[in-house]
Amino acid sequence: MTHFIDEQMMGEGMFEPVRFSGFPPIVDSMLSGNLEATFILAPLAMSLAERGKPIKVVYLGHRDGTALMVHKDSKIERIGDLKGKKIAFPSRYSNQYLILFKALDERGMSIDDIQTVEMPPPQMPAALAARGVDGIIAGEPIMAKTQLEDEKGNPGYGRVLFLTNQVWPEFISCVLAVRQDVIDTRRDDVQRLVDGIARSGLWLDSDKDTGMRHRMMAADFVSGPNYYNYDPKLLRFVLSTPIDRVKYTNLTVQRENFEEIEKYAKKAGVFQGKVKFEGYTDTTFVPTGRALKPWEWEGKK
């Protein structure tokens, strides 16, 4: 979104968004120097830093934006009903996997009480429709896709069991990770990117109580082929139903959030704790007291 608004306001986008279809090629591109920065799963970024890869988490991409979906005809009504059920999740290095640990822990259960299956998120809606799995959990808009009528007019078949904010308030999924050499040599550019993301988030929510026009505009331009390439109707639904389904504010990197991720990442066996918060984050791009304003932009030129 920062790229799009940058282009609209300045006539050129300083940052070049590069779309991928999976996290392994993103990691390869990042480590081989073909990306200066990337949005990446928080536990994956932490794990890479722990394995000595020179990257740092400098900001968040968003908060929440994940749901656990079950089939609308399923008898699963609450988290406790997941016992013995088969749940698909995107990656062991995703917070979507870790939130299962938290949700089950808090109900006196463990991950061993459910069957878990790793599955690429784009395959999840079909698996749920065919009842090949009992539940699916991944980032939006893929989960919402199961709730809406498809392009052939077939009705939705998914039902929300929980949104992340009902289990893990201020849930973090993707973070902005930057190569250390880029932080060292292009600090001003990283700062501009962080500020741009922050201002985009503020812009999105600056009219949320008066019609959510900005969110609807964002759904329309981000749905284009240069960005998400989804049906705008789906993105409008995700950004509004309910409005806190995904949030783009409170994106600073906070120790307590990451220490909680560490706790569940250790349980999941994807993080050993050899590197502490200071070792995998750089919080200097959001100094205390720094106040930014939303973009002053109301539509395409």
Binding site: E16, S21, F23, S29, A37, I40, C174, D189
Partner: protein
């Protein structure tokens, strides 16, 4: 200069002229970079189209 040689030189000159014009007008190979972009290295940001 023979007639054949004159035609050859003229043809080469014509093709060179057309090639140069094409490169300049269609490819912009002689254009100056826009102000402020001369030395800017790319800043590529990876993402997946999911939240």
């Amino acid at each position: 200069m023979t007639f054949g040689r004159a035609v050859l030189i003229g043809a080469v000159a014509w093709v060179s002229l057309i090639t140069g014009l094409h490169a300049a007008l269609n490819w912009g190979v002689f254009d100056s970079p826009p102000a402020g972009r001369e030395a800017r290295a790319p800043f590529r940001v990876g993402y997946l189209p999911v939240t």
